[in-house]
């Protein structure tokens, strides 16, 4: 199996999870796709120069998070791309889907970028605290304290307290 084949197989198997995680970080698909493509491009370059990466998911996640945090530090936020037209054919559950996604994005938006990244890595990517700390290049204690602060903030989000305490929206 060539490097191209291996990389293609890796992208095919992981792009869905990476894109969903990127959406949780950024809140919109164009930016999420940019983020994933930037991370995968850097991974492919490393792959070509050094051979297959031992743990490509970990490598891509790390590049993705650091790139996301760097983007958030920029003073200029870039254009807001709207490739799909806002108007489109109505579907039965479209409004419900949009509401759910808006609620999710609104909830995560109350978190600063670092806390949001930790929440996505810990609770969506299922990383341990030690792995999250390795990706974030911070201490495990920082992950713990930031997770606790993020949970406390999410508790205060209207409608989310019920999800966290009873497993259903209040």
């Amino acid at each position: 199996m060539t490097d191209r084949d291996e990389f293609t197989a890796f992208v095919d198997s992981s792009s869905r999870d990476l894109l969903r995680a990127a959406w949780l970080l950024t809140g919109d698909w164009p930016t999420a796709e940019d983020l994933v493509q930037s991370a995968l491009t850097a991974t492919w370059r490393h792959w070509q120069e050094n051979g297959p990466v031992n743990y490509p998911e970990a490598y891509v996640r790390r590049v993705m998070v650091t790139t996301f945090l760097r983007w958030k530090k920029r003073r200029w936020g870039g254009e807001i791309a709207t490739e799909p037209l806002p108007e489109g054919p109505a579907r039965d559950d479209l409004f419900a889907q949009v509401d759910a996604h808006d609620a999710l994005h609104a909830a995560l938006s109350v978190l600063p970028p670092k806390q949001r990244a930790i929440v996505v890595l810990r609770y969506f990517a299922d990383l341990t605290e030690a792995q999250t700390a390795a990706v974030m290049q911070c201490a495990v204690g920082t992950v713990k304290s930031q997770s606790a602060k993020a949970l406390a903030r999410l508790h205060d989000v209207p409608g989310l307290a019920g999800v966290l305490t009873e497993g259903r929206a209040s």
């Binding site: 293609t8 894109l19 959406w23 930037s38 031992n54 590049v63 201490a139 949970l151 999800v163």
Partner: protein
């Protein structure tokens, strides 16, 4: 992971929208190739500037050659040339030029917790038995290429065990008893829990003479992996294999004998077995997992088991060393835990050997000589970020510059170096 965290995880998995389209690997690879091979427009260059540039390039090349010597020596695959020159495009180069990540997120690794220490650096394994004064280089087994060894373990008696997991789901286990120069190879045939799993990973956990334990697992991340525990009482000649059946991978494992053992999961949950790993019972009470609690690892002090419990709050970290004399059936809590108020953003590492406990937190080092009952601050303003005790007043540690930055180009892992102390941690010298 507690209930709130689990609900949050379930909610995120449920509500995160499905992507509208997949990522095209071909596009990414071809775009990168275009960026690399697009011919830059030729410009007229002022001759003195050209000469200065050439000199600077030569200097940079020499510096790169010097700094890369001794690092990754694997041959670099050449970029395959394209048969059709790509059309120049206006594609901007990717912004995420992050370079190579550290191979293990740390170039220097200390393995082992008592007496003898292994050091893995640039694919070399070294062992010391005298607190770092002398190191013995251990050649890798014949046929094992540098970099292939996944993990290593060094037992109290000097037994070294290496694990090399393969894509065909087998794990080569090399064992070398103390004082012996040859390696004994045992190949474990692992069985993935289903189709589509990546190759297994393997971690030798204990190498106590003829008693060996190994953990193998499958999954995209240890937090979601399916792990097996392998136990041998005859130096690796035969193994009993038990699938843990837990909802996450194994973080640490400690057996007191072939039947009684403790397991710390990747989800910060402690389990206990009395039948060689056939069944695992979750510990409760103060040792139940919570989102603000971390259990550093499992340590052994003679017949006792030690479990450091770290409780994180917004302003401090409490370190309490729990001790069990009945293989984890009951634990005793220390009267007064260590309260670390200035851990900052640096890691907090524990080193435990019997009743001597070291905690390196931020730029401060604490030591307890009575099993965590009382603590003293032995050093401040130090770069030592890990300390493993070798005696009442000696320890080997790893020193590094501040690694808290999020800048991936700040390769702090390259600055790791080994240090030792002979005066109880007050001063440290590099090894």
């Amino acid at each position: 992971m507690n209930d709130v965290e689990r609900r949050l995880a379930e909610w995120l998995h449920r509500e995160a929208p499905e992507p509208p389209r997949a990522v095209s690997a071909t596009r990414i690879m071809d775009r990168e190739l275009e960026v690399r091979t697009v011919a830059r427009p030729r410009r007229r260059v002022w001759p003195p500037l050209l000469a200065a540039t050439a000199v600077a390039a030569a200097i940079v090349a020499v510096i790169l050659a010097v700094t890369s010597a001794g690092q990754d020596s694997r041959p670099r695959p050449a970029v395959s040339p394209t048969t059709t020159p790509p059309t120049p495009t206006t594609t901007s180069p990717p912004s995420a030029d992050l370079g190579a990540p550290p191979p293990d997120f740390a170039a220097t690794r200390l393995l082992g917790t008592t007496g003898r220490y292994a050091w893995k650096l640039t694919n070399t394994l070294r062992v010391t038995a005298d607190g770092g004064a002398h190191w013995t280089r251990i050649p890798l087994p014949a046929g094992v290429r540098p970099g292939a060894v996944d993990t290593a373990q060094v037992g109290d008696d000097g037994t070294v065990v290496l694990a090399d997991a393969h894509r065909n789901q087998t794990v080569d286990l090399y064992r070398r008893p103390a004082g012996v120069t040859s390696w004994k190879l045992t190949t474990l045939s692992t069985t993935p829990p289903g189709p589509g799993y990546p190759p297994p990973y393997a971690q030798p956990m204990q190498a106590d003479g003829n008693f060996l334990t190994v953990v193998t697992g499958w999954g995209t991340s240890p937090a979601r992996s399916v792990d097996d525990v392998w136990i041998s009482t005859d130096g690796g000649a035969t193994f009993s294999q038990r699938r843990t059946g837990l909802d996450s991978g194994v973080h640490d494992l400690l057996f007191l004998d072939a039947d009684r053992g403790l397991l710390l999961s990747q989800h910060e949950t402690l389990y206990r077995t009395t039948d060689g790993g056939r069944h695992w019972t979750k510990l409760g009470g103060s040792l139940a997992g919570r989102h603000d609690v971390e259990f550093g690892a499992l340590y052994r002090d003679g017949a006792d088991v030690l479990v450091p419990r770290l409780t994180y709050t917004a302003h401090r970290i409490d370190v309490a060393l729990y001790r069990s004399s009945d293989a984890g059936a009951t634990f005793r809590r220390p009267a007064s835990p260590l309260q670390v108020r200035d851990a900052g953003s640096d890691p907090l590492y524990l080193g435990v050997s019997g009743r001597i406990v070291w905690v390196a937190a931020g730029r401060t080092i604490f030591r307890s000589d009575d099993g965590g009952a009382t603590w003293s601050r032995v050093a401040s303003d130090t770069d030592v970020h890990r300390a493993i005790p070798t005696g009442p007043s000696t320890a080997v540690g790893v020193s590094a510059a501040d690694c808290s930055s999020n800048d991936p180009k700040e390769r702090c892992w390259q600055t790791d170096y080994l240090v030792a102390t002979t005066d109880g941690g007050r001063t440290w010298h590099s090894l």
